[in-house]
Structure formats: structure tokens, C-alpha cells
Symmetry: C2
Subunit: 222 residues, 2 copies
């Protein structure tokens, strides 16, 4: 399967790219607005994997070309770039099996981080509203620490929560998630349940700030 | 220490009453609007504990009397009774060391459960606004399954998240929480961070509904 990480030069994109390249045989493609940056990061990830004894070819492209070549597109851009990025690649999404959104809107004040969804209700709902009608959307990977994903010598042993209204697309993302060693995917229901899933991201950051030894904290449901 | 569970005849009140009576030497007091009901439930809990070989005296009172006798008051009432209940007992809270709020506002639609905070921003913030100024408020125990707490033969092995602006009061609730076997308390910051903590309750219910074997699911941060 071909997985394109649009915004794959950012931290969560890097983490997912490295894990899929390290743990699976899927082809990993890096997208960026700037194709030079995409190629540069792809080469960095290859070097990182090579240093761990894994030889993988990772290619970088401009976002639209990355999306066009992929079966699965992960929209790993900041929440305020979600709409622009989708509009930029919309006509390249016709053959995509699923668009995955891990972004979360947050702001920060003296007390800590707070969930700040867009008017659509959540980033997942904004994405679902913005993509062409025939592209299934799944929210996933919101609550994973990008730094922990990107450090391939660390165990994950965490859960990620999925929301989406298309069962086949969700099942595909469950499989892709669980091919990452130590990651378990749980179903949090339809896209309308996404605000509660996205809210966990500022909560995890607050726990990391307030409790010793909880840097890069994740979650297990049991 | 004397712990009053206002609304201690409901499910989360019952769970906490049974666990503190079973695992600690603190005096547990049950409050209700109806003192007969409070006494009846207190007697039920004594019988339950007795059947497990633990002889404890639990007393029931009208809410105001229960609050007046307590060092710690847990406001285990539904969110729509929070304001009325506080106003009802406000003049009995002068000697209370901490008021604990575990309530969460939710609604349900076809997709699942959704976080529905009061206008104050969260139930914890509503409680903090409503209590007399000298009563410290701590939000805690939102994300525990009442059924799992109430079944004393089940292990907890879960985390609970605390929010509050008074460090001494929060430290007291950390100790009380961790005296329950298997329960770990984590600091989620000030009361302004409470919405993200309360949001986990509908999320946990959605996970229980959508995933097999997750009835009464809880959470561990690691």
C-alpha cells in the first residue's frame, strides 16, 4: 500500500513515516508544499532508517503529486492549514481509499493547553466537510507523541482512537495503525464523536507539564 | 478523616463510599436530600462490606448535616443538580477542607455521547463559581466506572485526573484517591483545565459502546 504523508516534514508526519517505514513494507511518500523540502526530509528519514540497519526508499513530492500517488493520505498539517491543503490537493484525491486526519486545534493560556475546535465542531468534521464527497475520512493518531513515534528505539505500547463514518476505511486505518509495533487502535465511533477524541491531545500535554516523568505521555484504555 | 458523599445514594457515590470504607479507615458519611434514603443506602453498604468480612459503620444524613460533619465533601450529584445542591448546603461548608466534584455534563445522540459543559465552561468551574469563596474545589474521579468501583472484587488499576487551584486541597485529594487500591491520581493542572478532563467521560462511554470487552473501561497514562 502507498501511504502519503501530506505535511510529512512536520513532527507527527515524521513520526508516522518513520514507524511505517521501519515496521511495515508499505511505500511511504512524503508531501510538502515545497517539493525540495519533501525530498530533503525523505532523504533524512532514509538515513535515519539506514543507521538502524533498515534500507528503505522514501520519496518526496509536492503535496498534490504525493496525494495522487497514494492509496492512503494522512493530512499531517497544522489545523489552520487543513482547509487550504485539502483545497490544494482536492482534484488529486479521486483514487484515494481514505484520508486520515490527526490534527487538533488547541490554544494555550497560563493554566495550560485547551481544546479549541474549528466552527465545524472538530478538525475531523472540518476535514469531512471539505474533502470531495467520495473520499472517506478517518480521524486517527491525534493522541500519539510525535517525539516518541520518531524515536524508533522507544516502545510505543499505546492506544490510538479512530473516528469515521465509513467502516471499510476505518478498518483499513485500524490495520495500518496496528502494523506499527505496540500500537493498538480502538474505535471511538462516528465522525460526530471526534471532539472528545481530539480533546485528549491538550489533556495529554497538560499531564506532561504537571507530572514528573510524563514527557511524551500516551494512553491505554483498559 | 470524615468524607461525606453528597448524593452518595447514586452510582458514583456508592462506588467511592464502598472503596473508601473497604480500603481505608476514613469515616464515610452518606448524604441525600432524603435522610431516610441516606440511612437506607448506608445500611446497604454496611451489609455489602460485612459480606466481604469488613465491619464498618456508615451513617446516612440529610445532605446539609452530612456536609457539616465532614472534612471532605464529594458532590456526587448529577450535573443539573450541582448548583441547587451547593446552594442547599452552602452554610454548612465553613469547616470543610475540600469540596470534590466528579460530575460531567453529557448528552447523547445517534452517534454516541458528547461532552456538554454548562455555561461556566465545565462542571468543575460551575462548582468553583458557586461555592463560598473560602471552600477549595478539586475536580476528580470523573473518569472512573461507577460499576467497577462498586464491585469490590474487581481490581481498579486505573488513573484518575485532578484539577484544582488550591495545592493543599489537591494534595489531600491525591492522598484520598491513592488510598483506594490500584488507583493512581495525576495532576491535570488548574480548574481552567477541567473541560479536557471532563470530556474523557463521554469518550470512555463511546469506547465501551464501540469495542467488545470494554464495558467499564478506564484509562492509564504511560
Amino acid at each position: 500500500m502507498r501511504i502519503a504523508l501530506i505535511g510529512g516534514t512536520g513532527d507527527i508526519g515524521q513520526g508516522l513515516a518513520l514507524r511505517w517505514a521501519f515496521d511495515t513494507d508499505h511505500e511511504v511518500i512524503i508531501g510538502s508544499r515545497d517539493p525540495e523540502k519533501a525530498r530533503g526530509k525523505a532523504a533524512e528519514y532514509e538515513t535515519e532508517l539506514d543507521s538502524l540497519g533498515v534500507s528503505r526508499s522514501i520519496n518526496g513530492f509536492k503535496n498534490g503529486m504525493a496525494a495522487e500517488r497514494a492509496d492512503v493520505v494522512v493530512l499531517a498539517v497544522p489545523p489552520f492549514h487543513v482547509r487550504d491543503t485539502i483545497e490544494d490537493v482536492a482534484d488529486r484525491l479521486s483514487d484515494v481509499d481514505v484520508l486520515v486526519t490527526p490534527a487538533v486545534g488547541m490554544n494555550r493560556d497560563e493554566s495550560g493547553f485547551h481544546y479549541k475546535p474549528p466552527k465545524a465542531g472538530s478538525v475531523s468534521e472540518l476535514v469531512a466537510e471539505t474533502v470531495p464527497d467520495d473520499v472517506p475520512v478517518v480521524g486517527a493518531f491525534h493522541n500519539l507523541s510525535a517525539d516518541r513515534l520518531a524515536d524508533l528505539e522507544l516502545d510505543i505500547e499505546q492506544d490510538t482512537l479512530l473516528v469515521g463514518d465509513d467502516d471499510d476505511a476505518k478498518e483499513m486505518v485500524v490495520r495500518l495503525a496496528e502494523e506499527i509495533d505496540g500500537l493498538r487502535a480502538l474505535d471511538a465511533g462516528g465522525i460526530e464523536n471526534s471532539a472528545e477524541v481530539e480533546s485528549m491531545t491538550p489533556l495529554l500535554i497538560n499531564l506532561a507539564l504537571e507530572n514528573e516523568g510524563m514527557h511524551d505521555v500516551g494512553v491505554r484504555f483498559e
